[in-house]
Symmetry: C2
């Protein structure tokens, strides 16, 4: 019942330097193990040992394996967002640009399919106790897509389209990771769903369809 200050979340306690370093080591170990063997290879004891931290400490930083992997995803997504921003997509329409961006992200994931597996499986398996963290990931993804669309003040309709695109993105990734869809198929699905953007664009009077 004491007002404990766990090193969780965002602004609970500022985290000392050593704590920040520990957290970073843990995330690094997690990503490394995940890259090697996917979700199953990320074993809490191994993560602890591999990052030079006691099991109890690992659990203090990340209250479950799912929390850990979702945090790993936040970490990776952040890097990806920065990378993507460096070379913005070149397509003419918003739909093309979003599709191009997502395909670029997809190719990045293909380079580490096991890591992708671990992160995506954790994300979709997460229950209510991880909602805040999953929500953060979702917001990051939304930001990436809106970036690609070149919007900063989207209409509700456009937000709906973006949500649907995210749904498709996650689910398509899963079907690919579990070997039920080919890379080509994922590409098609992404391109298909991105057409929704044009649909809402015509309804949104922001960018007049001067053609």
């Amino acid at each position: 019942m004491t007002a404990e200050a766990k090193p969780r979340g965002s602004a609970s306690t500022p985290l000392t330097e050593r704590q920040e370093a520990r957290r970073r080591r843990i995330l690094h170990a997690s990503a490394q193990l995940a890259a090697r063997g996917g979700f199953d290879a990320v074993q809490m004891r191994e993560v602890a040992e591999s990052s030079g931290v006691a099991l109890g400490t690992l659990y203090r930083y990340f209250p479950s394996k799912i929390h850990l992997l979702v945090a790993t995803m936040q970490d990776q997504l952040q890097g990806m967002h920065l990378t993507l921003r460096k070379r913005p997509p070149a397509g003419a329409g918003a739909a093309e640009r979003v599709a191009e961006t997502l395909m670029r992200a997809f190719r990045a994931l293909q380079r580490e399919p096991h890591l992708a597996d671990a992160m995506v499986r954790a994300l979709t398996f997460a229950d209510r106790s991880v909602s805040p963290e999953v929500d953060t990931v979702s917001r990051q993804t939304t930001a990436i897509i809106l970036d690609a669309m070149g919007l900063d003040r989207p209409t509700p309709e456009q937000l709906s389209a973006v949500r649907v695109i995210e749904h498709t993105w996650h689910s398509a990734l899963i079907t690919w990771l579990s070997g039920r869809a080919s890379i080509a198929q994922v590409k098609i699905d992404i391109e298909t769903v991105c057409r929704l953007i044009d649909l809402t664009a015509s309804a949104a009077p922001r960018q007049p369809p001067e053609r």
Copy 2:
């Protein structure tokens, strides 16, 4: 290395009557436990005891908890498909009919949210070893949607749209189950993605756009 004939899958061994009964008892116990407490409440020992079967036998019928829950979903989906067929959707366009059908299915799931949780979580968490079973579920879902569209010979484009709808359906369910989206939001997402159907309809020369 012996050519064992496990009571798995479709056509391995015809399954005797008692075996069929066992299988049914197991699925029933699974659904019941799931309906009570969701994914976590489906504990293999409990399923075994509750269906009057030894743990080893349970594992002979369903090689993992995920297999069991995916099979449970197949079972439930089949029932749902029959129910839905009885009263076909009444909307004018294919998009409306699909949206209506999915919303009807969604309301059915809302009646047993814990069961929905267990099934959907299992479905998205399934790895490659469950691919055939997950694929069956996917085909069942596709059949339901095509039914609602009133198609029996869809174009590749329409199949893409259906796949995207399925993606959205699964992912939207997950966000709802984990409390990150409201029922209203799921409705909007479904309606949004269903607009894709109209998009492909105009491109498909089957139903001439006689206005």
